[in-house]
Amino acid sequence: MNRLVAVAPLPTLRTGRRAVIHLLLLGGAALMIFPFIWMISTSLKDIGEVFTVAPKWIPSVLRFDNYAAAWRAAPFGRFYLNSIIVAVAVTLSQLTLGALAAYAFARLQFPGKDALFLLFLGTMMIPDQITMIPAFLLMSWLKWTNTYYALIVPNMVGAFGIFLLRQFFLTLPRELEDAAKIDGCSRLTFFRLVLLPLSKPALAAVGIFTFLHNWNSYLWPLIVTSTTSMRTLPVGLRFFVAQEGATQWTLLMAASVFVMAPVLLVFLLAQRYFIEGVSITGLKG
C-alpha cells in the first residue's frame, strides 16, 4: 500500500519540464497560503495601519504586544483549557464508539444492518440548524447547560467517522478474523488487539477531522454555555467584534492566529498519517 509509484502519463522529465511543474505548484501553493500571511501580518500591525489605501504587507512597527493584549482581553487560558478538554474528549469518544459501530457494520451480520447503516449515514445530511434548538432544550431539561456534559456528550458519536472507518475495515482481509476465530479469540479481543492497531492511519484521519471540526465549532458552544469560564476558543474570538464601537482587527487577527496554531501544529505532526488515512478511505468510495 505504500508504494509511491510515479504513475504519470507523461514522458520522462527533463529539467525544463520539471521547472515548469515546480513553478505551477509553487504559484498554486502561494495562492493557498497568502491569506495566512495576511492574517499574521495584520496581527503584528498597529491599528492605524490596518486600513491603508495601498495594502501594507510588512508592518512598519512589529506590534508583538498585540498577542499579549489579545490574550489578556479575555480569559484565553481558560478557553484553551476548555477547548482542549472538549476536543480531546470528543475525539477519543468518536474514535472508540465509532470504531465499534464501524466494525459491526463492516464485519458482522445482523437484521436491519443496511437500514441502520443508511440511517447513520443519513444523519450526516442533517443540517445543524435542525437539531440545535431541540438539543438545547434537552440540555436544559437535563440541567447540563454550562457544563462539560453539554459540550461533549451530544458530540460523542459522528456519522462521518463511522462511515470512513467502515470503508477502511472493509479493505482489511477477512482471513485475519478467521484466523482469530480459530485461535479462539473473542470478537472484542480481535477488535482490540488486531483490528485497531492495523487501522492507525484511518483512526488518525478520523481523529484529526473530528478534532478539527470540534475545535472550530462556534454556534453550539455559544448556545449552551453562559459563563465565561465554560467558553471555548472560537466564542472567545467574538470578544473583539464590537457592536457600535469598532472591531479590534489587529487583536482579532492575533487571537485567530493563536486559535489556529494548535490545529496547524497537530496537522503538521500527524500529517503523514492523516493523508494516508484520507487517501485509503477515499479509494473505495
Binding site: 443540517p127 434548538i133 431541540p134 458519536v157 472550530n216 472560537p234 487517501s279 468510495g285
Partner: protein, 308 residues
C-alpha cells in the same frame, strides 16, 4: 464444519442459527453506545423538529399552535425560498466542478516525482484546518472593492475593478472562489492517492501500443479515478449544501439576497425571526433534497464507477 464435528459440537444445522443469533447480539452490543447517543441527540431532535414543523411557535409561547402542513404549503409559495434553493445550487455547481478539476490538475502535477512533495501537500492542505470564522475576515479584505488584493490582481491584467461582495452579481462568485480555495487541498489528497493506485503496467501496455498522453489520461487515468471522483462528489454536495459560516460573516445573505442559501435562510427564520415551525419545515425540505441527490448519485454509481 468438519472441525466443529470433530470438536464434539452439535451439527451445523443446529449451530448455524445459534451462531447467527450470537453474531447479531454481538453486533448490537458493539453498536449500542453509538446508537444510544445518536438516538438521544440526533434522532430525538430530528423528530422533535419534525413535530415543530407542523406547528407555529416562537419559543416563548407556552403553547405551540398546531397548523398541520401549512408551513410546507407556505414554503412552496415563498419566492425567497426558491431563490435560496437556486442560490444553493449555483454555489454547489459553481464550486464543486472547479474544485475537482483544479484538484485533479494539481494532483497530476504532484504525482510527477517532484522534490518537496510533502511541503507542497501541507501548503495545499492548510486551508482545510482553518476556522472559517477567522479566515472569512481575511477574505473580506481580499475582496475589498477599493484596497483588495483581488482587484489589484485584476488590474495587473487590465480588468477594471469589481465590487465583489457588494455587487449582487459578483458576491456569489467571490464566495465560490473562497470555497474552492478551502476545499482544494482535500480533493488533491484524495486524487493523489487515487492516482498512486493506478498500476504502472496499464500505462506501459498502452504506451507500447503508441497511445498519446491525452488518450492515456482519458481511457486509463480518469476511469480508474472514478471511485475517488465519486467520493469527492458525494461529500462535496453534502457539505456545500450546508455551507453557512462564510455567508453569516461575509455577506449576511446579501446583497439583495444573492447569497442567501437555504441554510442561511433557515437560520434567519429560526434565530432571527424565531419562527421555529417554518424554519423546521425548511430544514426538512433541505434534508429531503440532500438525501435524494445522494440516492441519485448512488444509483448512478452502480453503472459508472469502475472498481478494481
Amino acid at each position: 464444519m468438519a472441525v466443529a464435528r470433530e470438536a464434539g459440537l452439535p451439527s451445523p444445522a443446529v449451530l448455524r442459527p445459534w451462531l447467527r443469533l450470537q453474531e447479531a447480539l454481538a453486533a448490537y452490543v458493539f453498536l449500542a453506545p453509538a446508537a444510544l447517543i445518536f438516538a438521544a441527540f440526533i434522532i430525538f431532535p430530528v423528530l422533535f423538529s419534525f413535530y415543530l414543523s407542523l406547528t407555529r411557535w416562537n419559543l416563548l409561547e407556552p403553547r405551540k399552535a398546531f397548523v398541520g402542513l401549512e408551513n410546507y404549503l407556505t414554503l412552496l409559495r415563498d419566492p425567497v425560498f426558491s431563490r435560496a434553493l437556486l442560490n444553493t445550487l449555483y454555489f454547489a455547481a459553481g464550486s464543486i466542478p472547479l474544485s475537482m478539476v483544479l484538484a485533479l490538475a494539481v494532483a497530476l502535477l504532484l504525482n510527477q516525482k517532484v522534490r518537496g512533495m510533502a511541503a507542497y501537500r501541507v501548503a495545499y492542505f492548510s486551508p482545510m484546518v482553518t476556522s472559517t470564522v477567522a479566515i472569512a475576515v481575511v477574505w473580506m479584505w481580499i475582496f475589498d472593492p477599493y484596497n483588495g488584493v483581488a482587484n489589484y490582481a485584476l488590474s495587473l491584467v487590465g480588468v477594471p475593478p469589481l465590487r465583489w461582495l457588494f455587487d449582487p452579481g459578483w458576491a456569489m462568485p467571490a464566495l465560490i472562489i473562497m470555497r474552492v480555495w478551502q476545499t482544494l487541498g482535500y480533493n488533491v489528497v484524495v486524487y493523489l492517492a487515487g492516482l498512486q493506485n493506478v498500476p504502472e503496467t496499464y500505462y506501459e501496455a498502452a504506451r507500447i501500443d503508441g497511445a498519446s498522453p491525452w488518450s492515456l489520461f482519458r481511457s486509463i487515468t480518469l476511469p480508474l479515478l472514478s471511485p475517488s471522483t465519486f467520493f469527492i462528489l458525494v461529500m462535496s454536495i453534502i457539505s456545500s449544501f450546508q455551507v453557512f459560516a462564510q455567508i453569516h460573516v461575509m455577506t449576511q445573505g446579501g446583497p439583495l439576497q444573492s447569497t442567501t442559501v437555504i441554510v442561511y435562510y433557515i437560520y434567519q427564520h429560526a434565530f432571527e425571526g424565531y419562527r421555529m415551525g417554518y424554519s423546521s419545515a425548511m430544514a426538512f425540505v433541505l434534508f429531503a433534497v440532500i438525501f435524494s441527490l445522494t440516492l441519485v448519485q448512488m444509483k448512478w454509481v452502480q453503472r459508472r464507477v469502475h472498481y478494481e
